[in-house]
Amino acid sequence: MNVLVCVKQIPDPNAPGKLDPQTKRLVREGVDLVLDPGDEHGVEAGLQLVEKDGGEVTIISMGPPKALEAIRRALAMGAHRGILITDPALQNSDAISTARAIAAAIKGQNYELIICGTESTDGSSGAVPAQLAELLGLPLLSFAKKLEVGDGKAVIDRQTDDGYDVVEAPLPALVTVTGGINEARYPALRGIMQAKNKEVRQVGLKDIGLEGQAGMAALTQEVIEATPAEPRKAGEVIDDKGEGAKRVADFLKALKVI
């Protein structure tokens, strides 16, 4: 079976994020950019499926030209080829524009399953996968912490507040995966070398027939203000010299918890 995996390149989540005061968008200059760690689980899930049943994993991403590096990382993990949607007019796209661009770019691709992370680690609205499913008319299996595919259908364990639901959909389908679904592999040196020769097709808005219909030309919303939140005041920090537990118990007593 063939699998499409959507990935995003984001500023390193271990470095604090910044917004440009003018554009109110994420600052991408001068920060390390990485493949979203959440998406690594999607790539891993795709690889496991094709390793079992044959087929290919295609990585698709949208972003500036250097987002190619995130695709290369996924290719180094073992994915077969990539598609990068990149166009200056796509700068500052909102979720629905992103979903439209991906839907247009994968038209004609042969796939049984699309895998996405549940949400990006930087923007974290989590809207693109469901929007993409809607645009493509696909069933959405969301928040999967387990995925099995066979007999023309996909079955997931879908996260709920107090456990999980077992949910089934016919293929083709779109699945979003949580971090709990697998342990993502680390690219081996051989994979990194091979990734350099794998095909990554770059397409612009014109190529996918969306000129003037995505990105800034089709914004559905705009960030007009960004202000630092009032920080929580730190209290007392003590070094445990054997009295730590007692101090905590005193504190709980004062709070009437005990």
Binding site: I96, S125, D165, L219, Q221, A229, A234, G235, V237, L255
Partner: protein, 323 residues
Amino acid sequence: MPGVFVFAETTDGTPTPVALELLTKARSLGPTTAIALGPGAAKAADALARHGARKVYVHEDAAFRDILASPAVDLLAKQVGKDQPDLIIFGMTYDGRDVAARLSARLGTALIANATDIVKRDGGWAVTSPMFGGSLLVTTVPKAKAPTLVLLRPKAVAAEPAEDASAPQVETLSDPVDSSKPVARVLRREKEKASGPKLEEAAVIVSGGRGLGAPENFKMLDELAAELGAAVGASRAVVDAGWKPYAFQIGQTGKTVKPTVYIALGISGAMQHTVGMKGAKTIIAINKDPEAPIFKLADLGVVGDVHKIVPQLIQEVRSRKGK
């Protein structure tokens, strides 16, 4: 008159706590219509009205319970065409997120996620959402045609009954559910949560992170929680490592909690976690790393070894309760 729709999730005829929070916010913004779907939904109408719904649309087809998102999206799209609301509020829940995102793609309207507040501004809406683990608050305004779709975070608003509540005008819908499309169908439901109070409702939460070292060390958290009548939570690192089921996860990709007391044990305090718990009234943290960011939030921080301090704390609590 601008209208507000609320996607009111219910379980067996009882509105979820989030549904009542959404209504509390919605009624301050315009005449509010609640949409309650699934078996038993009609039973929820009174509670929804008490919290501000003037009108309640009810559809009791089992498909709304058993099929993910699609039937709800079809129905909402139809009612939007009929009533032309200006705003639709969803809870930032598993189902709320799926339904809102699919509907926004269907209608081509703005979807603003992770909201903590919605206000009227210049004849439209301005929506506040936290970014970067809550260190920044951004205000977003819609640029597309109505309705604007907003996903409001659980606990962003405290649910309160409306003072001017009246008996609801209930309209029972019976549009047949489209069965021609491929859908995601729930085969069965499994519960994993242990006994004790629910995380979202607990007054005290004892939460564990990677610093606990091994999954079996959660046993002492269970013990402490039992002494304090607390719920047990976990950080994403712990859940990703498979030590605890996802249902325990607190943070950006997990639950948002606002207990009276939050006790963080072996949790460093990554933004991904703190966004889900910094609304706690009081925070106590024990961690061996004095540089851990959790100490910047804690009302009382103890730099030390959780493996030593927690068992001592259990003894302290027991002896004081004995007095």
